[in-house]
Symmetry: C2
Subunit: 409 residues, 2 copies
């Protein structure tokens, strides 16, 4: 903190209020939002002013995925990078992936941090690292089969997509060697029905972890109780009532705010992650020391949609679909009917009308939400291989409940 306050233009004023780096002082510091960092990068292109060291000291550049707005650029020094690597290694270890594993990394290696963290983390745990960039799905499946890869790291959406390609192309032999799938990039693996679907398709364990370019890999799977543990060795973790600075009560739902203890070059101090989590009033079943998030990442504050006064997460709707046995693509549309009433339409790959009704019934029972389900033929909705973009919000901007809607793809 002393160093950052002295040399980092972005943090200087923000840290002025504290006298020492004692953890108790943390709550006095201002929160940092993605918008703060984005505005700073716009004002000081290309890297912003959240830089503790001279430009030459930085070794790695990564970006946020740009799902919402312009990508943020995050620089790391070699020391930050070693820390980042160790954080991802913890996620692998928690998933039971180690030196005896052959780990396939099934994604393109763009500038998004998590891909590179996975590569570095797999090195750190001593596994055999097999990068699967620059391949199509069939080539990846052949490689998994031929090299008998025991673990796979990919997005949950892509794990399902790969399974589908395996079945349609007669490459089911790729399922046999894979024991573990570690998901990244999307909260899907924390959604029980999605996780069960992945586990069913692959006959493998599916585990989650959580990370983001702004802070690193901050949570790892709890094999005993499901969900995630916050890596409190490396992060100071707070859960705040969205839109406020008040911590949620034990067991409450709120926004995760993180301070990364090992990142000095481009610090993340009280960073509003935008990730919504449910806290647990107690330890996990195995009594692990780190704070437990029994439902993993529940959603994003900017995914949260207010429909007729209710907080709705598209991920909860996805879970309902999967529970009823709908496993293909889907699209959720929020719109306003002629009577100015917010409505929810779900287009999904469903063959029978009674299944559509079952989705409507269950969504009402589980979420208290009335929706209309429209069956569509397979292949009509676009395949979403990477970050799932399956939600569109067609309501007029400025209407109550649409303030926090995210841009749609």
């Amino acid at each position: 903190v002393a160093l950052v306050r002295r040399t980092n233009p972005f943090q200087r004023e923000r840290l002025a209020g504290i006298a020492s780096s004692a953890p108790a002082e943390l709550e006095a510091l201002p929160l940092t939002t993605k918008e703060d960092l984005a505005a700073d990068q716009l004002a000081h292109p290309p890297f912003g002013s959240n830089l503790t060291f001279a430009p030459d000291a930085y070794a790695h550049l990564h970006q946020t995925s740009g799902t919402t707005g312009e990508p943020l650029r995050i620089l790391q020094t070699a020391a930050d990078w070693r820390w980042n690597r160790a954080c991802f290694a913890r996620a692998l270890t928690a998933a039971g992936i180690g030196a005896a594993d052959r780990v396939g990394l099934a994604f393109s290696f763009g500038p998004y941090l998590q891909y590179w963290s996975a590569y570095e983390g797999a090195k750190e745990v001593g596994a055999l690292v097999v990068p699967l960039g620059g391949m199509d799905s069939a080539q990846r499946l052949e490689t998994i089969r031929d090299l008998r890869l025991s673990a796979l790291v990919c997005t949950p959406t892509y794990a399902l997509r790969l399974a589908e390609v395996a079945r349609s192309r007669g490459l089911e032999a790729a399922f046999a060697p894979v024991e573990t799938i570690l998901c990244l990039g999307e909260p899907g693996a924390s959604i029980p029905s999605t996780r069960r679907q992945i586990e069913g398709a692959w006959s493998a364990r599916c585990l989650d972890h959580a990370g983001m370019a702004e802070v690193g890999a901050f949570a790892y799977a709890c094999a005993a109780g499901g969900g995630l543990h916050l890596n409190e060795d490396e992060f100071v973790c707070e859960v705040l009532v969205p839109g406020t600075e008040r911590p949620v009560p034990p067991g409450g739902r709120g926004e995760l705010v993180l301070t990364a203890l090992g990142r000095a070059g481009c610090p993340a101090i009280r960073y509003r992650t935008g990730d919504v989590v449910d806290t647990a009033p107690r330890a996990c079943p195995a009594g692990h020391a780190h704070r437990w998030l029994p439902n993993g990442i529940v959603g994003r504050t900017d995914d949260m949609v207010v429909i007729r006064g209710m907080n709705v997460f598209p991920s909860a709707i996805e879970q309902t679909l999967r529970e009823v046995g709908v496993h293909g693509e889907y699209r959720i549309t929020f719109y306003t009917d002629p009577g100015a009433r917010d409505e929810v339409r779900i287009q999904a790959e469903i063959a029978r009308p009674d299944v559509a009704r079952a989705v409507e019934d269950r969504t009402r029972q589980r979420l208290g939400l009335r929706v209309r389900v429209v069956p569509v033929r397979p292949g009509i909705l676009p395949k979403q291989e990477l970050k799932a973009r399956r939600v569109e919000d067609l309501r007029p901007i400025g209407r109550p409940g649409t303030e926090s809607r995210r841009p749609t793809a």
Copy 2:
């Protein structure tokens, strides 16, 4: 050598003939060909038996590009990997790329070694590493421009392609920050006309290096004299008359045979690279100690085509095209005319008949080769973004001179 002979099944018999690991003993060992390794992997899937350690000891898997036949799988231990990384770092250092540089890695990160060596090597020299996988050409150009990347690593074909996209999309501002382009994957940057074309398009220095998955990065650019230096600190280098075990005389042309001194897990001992090089009868102009290859990699033994008794490299024909000012796509076709005579046809993006005649004249003068040039409209020949596949050999197999022809794409 002692360890490898004891534990490596593939090498055991091969190394039986030598009493010590003294360099002088090397010449007594049998040569290793790609076919030897491929047959071994077929007999002992998936990794073959050229393994000095137990499976868990390996940290990285990479493959040959599979341009000719099934890809070879090469395993490396963590120690091999550190050595591999240092070899590539040398190629970067020789190209003047260091800690002050921002290095864009403009390729997909598939299982080909060189991509990962470039990533690791850029870390090793302390540069800012910016991976550009999973992007299209326009996105890469925008990133180069916005982040002011000072160095680029890519194939020579792709360097030209990127320049073309920059011009057609109004992204020429990407040229300004780039000072150095280090080429990999193809010999193009050692072809003077191709190098000049890249340097002209980018207003940047273009430097070559050479490496292959089977051995690692074995040669780095000579800034003083052009061409490459063999990294004799890390490799024992021989140049043999193709098809024989005789060394070429000083100044002669032959096949490069390499022994990788830092790769114990999957050793390369007297490996026939298939790369054809011209040796120099003297040191480079700057008097560097390592052996100098004034023309870099001249071609591949399996690219070499015998036409009417002459050894012809498609790369030499490419050079002629570039010298006459033909910068678009081209295709070279070898075929047999009704009179059973081998002929060479060059289709190239040429607008004026006199340019076509100029290519024919120069090819006859420079290479002693009679060719027929057929101008084609731009856009008809397929774009070759990665490994250039621009040669087709339509002559009946078994005819004299067609023994060593490579499969065509």
